[in-house]
């Protein structure tokens, strides 16, 4: 198969009918969920709307104004109307500055005085205008990002994606620069361990994190500035990504867009399965977060790779594929074109087994072939990494080979110290050097290799597709929520009203008002 970027990968014969059926089933599955999504809003969604409307800063004690406001509204059971409505209401009441607005919303009476119809219409119109202004501003910023990317151009495919995670944004910047100098094309700043469970976005530049660095607007800004500078110096655009995930999916998407991030890890189910976040909450949040990514041209990356860290990569291969169909469908429903949906998968089969390369090739080629227009993101081995860095390095390099042969678009580089700690500077260097060698050495092999038609690889790919189809049939029958509660993905079972953040899900009132949603749905 000839890829859009000119690379050639071995042809993988697929049963088109099966593929079409999978897509159709996925659309059915997400369709059901979308109804639920449209009937609800969440504290995160409302906070996002308020951010767009100017409530950026944090108040005393670092509590973001949007949390002050939204928590109060929810406490009074007023959130169903939409925080933007109450902002309009507060403004009509004379509150002007963000602080004043938050203050006013935080101190609403039991039954707030309704506005006169005309005043209300005027107030909402003004808020709509502000929202559009906010969006226009956002788009201006996004265009500068796109302009620089086009001006400098990016590295060859697959883009080399590495992680920084010192916990200290300044040290992160130093290492991101070093990584870029060593050849990295994408920098991911890993978040602090606890962040996904926070129902607010921390504020300001941070220097202490656990297993990662806090995702804050200021940290985003500082890192992107440093990368702009480094990109210019290197004459190669270095992209930045972070996580729109956890309890603040849409807010982070908005902040990220504002600070010109290029990509975001954003998965419709990751939070549910791997952070035990309530499913309704995540499903509502992901939709808006993806709408924002669509608006801002941010490429999302899904997290199916995670499934095979909890489930067995060999047996659960089909769950990855099934989930990708669902994730893609959710994304398209949020307005994302396929070229912005970086479906994720990984090289995770236990290296103690035999013929792992044949199966990894089958999986990687299957995903590549199923979703030709998606910038597929390939993850290296992680779960079976050993403290033996020499072995782990070799193990990573095998995934480099498969990534190259199968024409992945974005390749997260494995670290030989994966089993021990977040990457050190020298780990990234060695990983980049090895990946470089593999790309050079295997250059034309994707075009050289023809797969035996009745061979292991071809049969395995077909079998996986078949099992993915069967799983989708099942999920379509049960409905997604039920399926998740039955551990259909990643061997993880989550109850419909279990998990964190359910309290933050609210029925929309008939007169629910959210100008951001209006704008996104109007596109």
């Amino acid at each position: 198969m000839l890829l859009s970027d000119g690379r050639v990968v071995p042809d993988l014969p697929l049963d088109r009918a099966k593929v079409e059926r999978c897509r159709a089933l996925a659309d059915g599955i997400t369709g059901q969920v979308l109804e639920l999504v449209r009937r609800h809003t969440t504290v995160a969604i409302e906070r996002t709307a308020l951010r767009l409307l100017g409530l950026h800063e944090a108040g005393p004690g670092g509590v973001p104004l949007v949390n002050v406001a939204v928590d109060a509204l929810q406490a009074r059971g007023l959130l169903g109307r939409g925080a933007a409505y109450w902002l309009a209401w507060a403004r009509a009441g004379g509150a002007v500055s963000p602080g004043a607005v938050a203050e006013r919303l935080a101190t609403l009476p039991e039954r707030p005085e309704p506005l006169a119809p005309a005043a209300e219409r005027a107030a909402l119109e003004e808020v709509r205008r502000d929202a559009r202004a906010g969006v226009d501003d956002l788009l201006r910023r996004v265009r500068t990002r796109d302009a620089l990317r086009t001006e400098l151009g990016q590295g060859g495919r697959p883009l080399r994606y590495v992680i920084v995670a010192t916990g200290n944004i300044h040290e992160d910047i130093e290492q991101a620069r070093a990584a870029a100098q060593a050849g990295a094309d994408v920098i991911a700043v890993i978040r602090s361990t606890a962040q996904s469970l926070l129902d607010y976005v921390p504020d300001g530049a941070t220097t202490e994190g656990y297993g990662g660095t806090w995702a804050t607007q200021e940290n985003f800004r500082l890192m992107r500035l440093a990368l702009d500078e480094e990109s210019r110096r290197l004459g190669r655009y270095v992209a930045l990504t972070n996580y729109s995930s956890g309890l603040c999916m849409p807010e982070i998407a908005y902040i990220a867009a504002h600070e010109r991030l290029d990509m975001l890890l954003n998965d419709a189910m990751y939070g549910i399965l791997f952070r035990d976040i309530n499913m309704k909450r995540t499903l509502c949040d992901q939709h808006l977060s993806r709408g924002i990514c669509a608006l801002a041209g941010i490429m999302i990356q899904t997290g199916e790779d995670n499934y095979i860290t909890t489930a067995d990569a060999d047996e659960a291969a089909h769950t990855v594929v099934a989930s990708q169909f669902v994730n893609l469908s959710f994304a398209r429903r949020a307005g994302l074109p396929e070229r912005l949906v970086g479906l994720g998968h990984a090289f995770e089969i236990d290296p103690a087994r035999e013929d792992t390369i044949a199966r990894e090739l089958a999986q990687a080629l299957l995903v590549r072939t199923l979703f030709p227009d998606s910038p597929i993101k390939y993850m290296p081995p992680t779960k079976h990494k050993q403290g033996d860095i020499f072995f782990s390095h070799v193990y990573d390099v095998m995934s480099d080979v498969v990534a190259w042969l199968t024409g992945q678009e974005i390749q997260l580089l494995g670290m030989m110290t994966e089993a021990m700690h977040n990457p050190f500077l020298m780990d990234r260097f060695s990983a980049l050097k090895a990946a470089d060698y593999v790309r050079r050495a295997w250059r034309s092999m994707g075009a050289e290799v023809v797969l035996r038609p009745d061979g292991l690889v071809v049969r395995r790919a077909d079998e996986t597709l078949g099992r993915a189809l069967a799983l989708l049939e099942e999920v379509a029958r049960e409905g997604l929520l039920r399926a998740i509660s039955r551990a259909r993905f990643g061997d993880v079972a989550r109850a419909e009203d279990g998990g964190k953040g359910l309290a933050g899900v609210v029925e929309r009132a008939p007169d629910y008002f959210n100008p951001l949603v209006e704008i996104l749905e109007a596109r």
């Binding site: 916990g167 620069r177 070093a178 990584a179 100098q181 060593a182 361990t193 606890a194 469970l197 202490e208 656990y210 297993g211 791997f274 952070r275 035990d276 860290t309 909890t310 779960k383 403290g387 089993a419 021990m420 700690h421 977040n422 050190f424 500077l425 020298m426 260097f429 060695s430």
Partner: protein, 255 residues
């Protein structure tokens, strides 16, 4: 002299290609650009670690201001084998059936085990490998043992909640997994559980076990746990230990 007539009491030294040559391989990054001076700095650094015959095998820019080094050198350091003290979780290992029978007979009821990966640590696979039926590396998990009543609370469990449940469910043993260790978050987190349990006066009555890839027995004991298990632990190791420890708690020293 070859390793075949190696005997305790001797000083143990690294072995490169002959006994006691003290060869070690090092790699590190120095925050300076490459060059003769950087090379010399690397050599000097190794010397200050007590090495000699320092050979800088490789020097390469890892970034503009960072240089990656690979060094081979010989260390004079050695350790007296006898002097090494290791606190080990030593148990007479019983087979599955034998252990179950022994436990049921001696305890007279099922041993209640609570397991969780605590704090903000979301790594559920490790504790799952120990508790869930499918176990680890072919070794069945504790839920498979008729002598245990197991509840795996999963990951991200707050210490306060875990302590409360331990009391409510009259747990005999609480198994805690800690996988994320950056900035020693696992230490604080583990200690916090001990505090919580003590607050509820429940610590003494419990067998408290810590586990994780960067955990060892010594660390666990230091943090106020009864035992610690590290990378590659098999459920049967834990099962054997638990039965013994619980019996001890019940004042039955039987082996």
């Amino acid at each position: 002299m070859t390793a075949h007539d190696w005997s305790p009491g001797e000083v143990v030294r690294p072995y490169g290609d002959r006994r006691d040559d003290g060869v070690v391989q090092l790699s590190f990054v120095l925050p300076v650009p490459p060059g003769e001076r950087a090379r010399e700095a690397a050599v000097e650094l190794a010397r200050r670690m007590g090495m000699d015959q320092v050979h800088v095998a490789h020097m390469e820019a890892a970034a503009e201001r960072y240089t990656f080094f690979v060094v081979y050198a010989r260390t004079a350091a050695g350790v007296e084998w006898d002097r090494i003290q290791v606190p080990e979780v030593t148990v007479r290992r019983r087979g599955f059936d034998e252990l179950v029978a022994h436990a049921l007979r001696e305890v007279g009821r099922k041993i209640v085990v609570l397991g969780a990966c605590t704090g903000s640590d979301a790594h559920a696979v490790g504790i799952g490998a120990i508790l869930d039926p499918k176990g680890f590396a072919g070794d069945p998990g504790l839920e498979r043992y008729p002598c245990f009543e197991v509840a795996n609370l999963g990951a991200q469990v707050e210490n306060a909640r875990l302590a409360r449940l331990a009391v409510e469910r009259r747990a005999d043993a609480v198994l805690v997994s800690q996988v994320v260790t950056q900035r020693d978050v696992h230490r604080d987190n583990a200690r916090q559980l001990v505090v919580e349990l003590e607050r509820l006066g429940a610590r003494a009555g419990l067998v408290l076990v810590l586990g994780g890839p960067r955990v060892d027995h010594r660390l666990a004991v230091e943090l106020g746990f009864d035992a610690g298990f590290g990378a590659g632990t098999r459920p049967s190791d834990v099962a054997n230990y638990l039965v013994l420890a619980v019996l001890r708690r019940l004042g039955k020293e039987v082996q």
